[in-house]
């Protein structure tokens, strides 16, 4: 199983029936395909609606996702303006947001919007999402392509938001961050706590109920 699929499958287990969810671009958009049959979630799109669905058939005027790509609408969708969209996001009306990360640190800080001198795309809606969503899940590969840890004692890149990450899910491990404590709660099948430590540059506690990720 590819790392991305492992991560998406594990993230899907965090969703509950009726949740309002905002998914970042890339990997997070894979999560819905791994939801249990019958579970209903509503996807929020920060360009102004609730009820994002995959495109079926021809594109319809004005029906695009936050990347500007044609998409579909669920029955029961609702459209609104950008002020309302971010009232929902910042006001705690989004139950969970799943975003990719460049770096996360042990204080629950996230950096995912710029690399000085290299990539300055702008924060778009990410800062509001990470600040306002009820639960922030960072879904990312455990290390960079160069094998460098992405989970650090302290982020070196400019932050997206301070102390807002609740969970970090990688292909190797699942961490929960509560009351300022970074706790390993699951590791990948076949991996050990030492494997996780070797690839993680943050202090973390190991849960008394440490489990193996269930990817069934």
């Amino acid at each position: 199983m590819q790392a991305k699929e492992v991560i998406a499958r594990r993230v899907a287990q965090e969703f509950q029936d009726g949740y309002v969810v905002n998914l970042g671009i890339g990997l997070p958009t894979l999560v819905p395909r791994y939801l249990p049959a019958g579970m209903f979630i509503t996807l929020q799109s920060e360009n102004g609606f609730l009820g994002l669905a995959p495109l079926e058939g021809e594109p319809l005027p004005g029906v695009v996702n936050a990347g500007g790509q044609p998409c579909g609408l669920m029955p029961g969708a609702a459209m609104f303006d950008s002020a309302m969209s971010f009232a929902l996001i910042r006001g705690g009306h989004v139950d969970v947001t799943v975003l990719g990360g460049l770096q996360v640190d042990e204080e629950g800080n996230l950096a995912n919007w710029m690399v000085p001198g290299k990539m300055v795309p702008g924060m778009g809606g990410a800062m509001d999402l990470v600040t306002g969503a009820r639960k922030v899940i960072v879904a990312m590969e455990h290390c960079t392509k160069e094998g460098e840890p992405r989970i650090l004692d302290r982020c070196t890149l400019p932050l997206t938001a301070k102390g807002r990450v609740a969970m970090v899910i990688t292909e190797l491990a699942v961490f929960r961050i509560t009351h300022g404590e970074f706790v390993l709660i699951e590791h990948a099948p076949g991996a050990t706590v030492e494997d996780v430590r070797a690839k993680t540059k943050a202090r973390f506690a190991v849960s008394d109920e440490l489990k193996t990720m269930n990817l069934g």
């Binding site: 029936d17 009726g18 309002v20 209903f40 509503t42 929020q44 609606f49 609730l50 009820g51 609408l73 669920m74 029955p75 029961g76 969708a77 609702a78 459209m79 609104f80 971010f86 009232a87 929902l88 996001i89 910042r90 006001g91 705690g92 009306h93 600040t131 306002g132």
Partner: protein, 220 residues
């Protein structure tokens, strides 16, 4: 499939407890959910804090709750049309917090939108500024007005789908949409409930994600 949020009238009562704060939609009673007000009244809920535009009239909107002594405090912009409110205030039986109408709307919106407050010029140089922080921006003075939230919001809409998307009718919209953002539990009384998909997404005025329960208004 989206959750069906319709409940029976018998399910509504247990949602209210003594001492809760309740935001109510409506302007002079227009856009106020009369059935939900009746539930609060009939089950004798006490010590309510009511947040809304006005106290309507003794027998209109939330007026009966005040007349019958269910309310300990109101946060409103206007009480002049309900003499009972004034009498109870003077008698020390009711705490009245008067807020300019636009400020009331912004404070509720802040409470629902995750904002810590808003700077408004309204009330500068009047009794409204007492006890409030001020801030000067570009040489102009503003009051810092803080968010309002409530335990429960009771709304009135013309139409809902089963998921809870709401459409209001004409000037009965008023405070309802912003209150839908600003309470822990949002209950809408509606004149009509339709299937999901029957309301054009562009016509939804309050998205279903904000609404917890919908109840069909009893015919008058």
């Amino acid at each position: 499939m989206a959750l069906d949020k319709q409940v029976d009238w018998s399910d509504v009562g247990p949602l209210f407890r003594d001492g809760i704060s309740v935001m109510f939609g409506g302007f002079m009673g227009v856009g106020t959910p009369d059935g939900l007000v009746s539930v609060l009244r009939e089950q004798g809920t006490k010590n309510l804090t009511l947040i809304g535009n006005d106290t309507a009239a003794p027998e209109t909107g939330i007026g009966p709750l005040i007349s019958d002594g269910h309310v300990k405090k109101v946060i409103v912009s206007h009480i002049g049309t309900n003499p009972v409110t004034g009498k109870k205030m003077i008698a020390g039986e009711l705490d009245v917090d008067l807020v300019p109408q636009g400020t009331l709307a912004e404070r509720i919106r802040c409470g629902g939108a995750g904002l810590g407050g808003v700077l408004t010029p309204t009330g500068v140089g009047t009794v409204v500024e007492e006890g409030k922080a001020k801030m000067v921006v570009d040489g102009k003075t503003f009051l810092v007005e803080l968010p309002l939230r409530a335990d429960v919001a009771i709304l009135k809409a013309k139409r809902a789908d089963r998921a809870g998307n709401l459409v209001y009718e004409r000037a009965a919209r008023n405070f309802n949409p912003i209150m839908a953002l600003a309470a822990d539990l949002v209950i809408a009384e509606v004149d009509e409930i339709v299937d999901i998909g029957e309301i054009d997404p562009d016509h939804v005025m309050t998205p279903a994600a904000l609404v917890d329960k919908i109840v069909l208004a009893r015919r008058q």
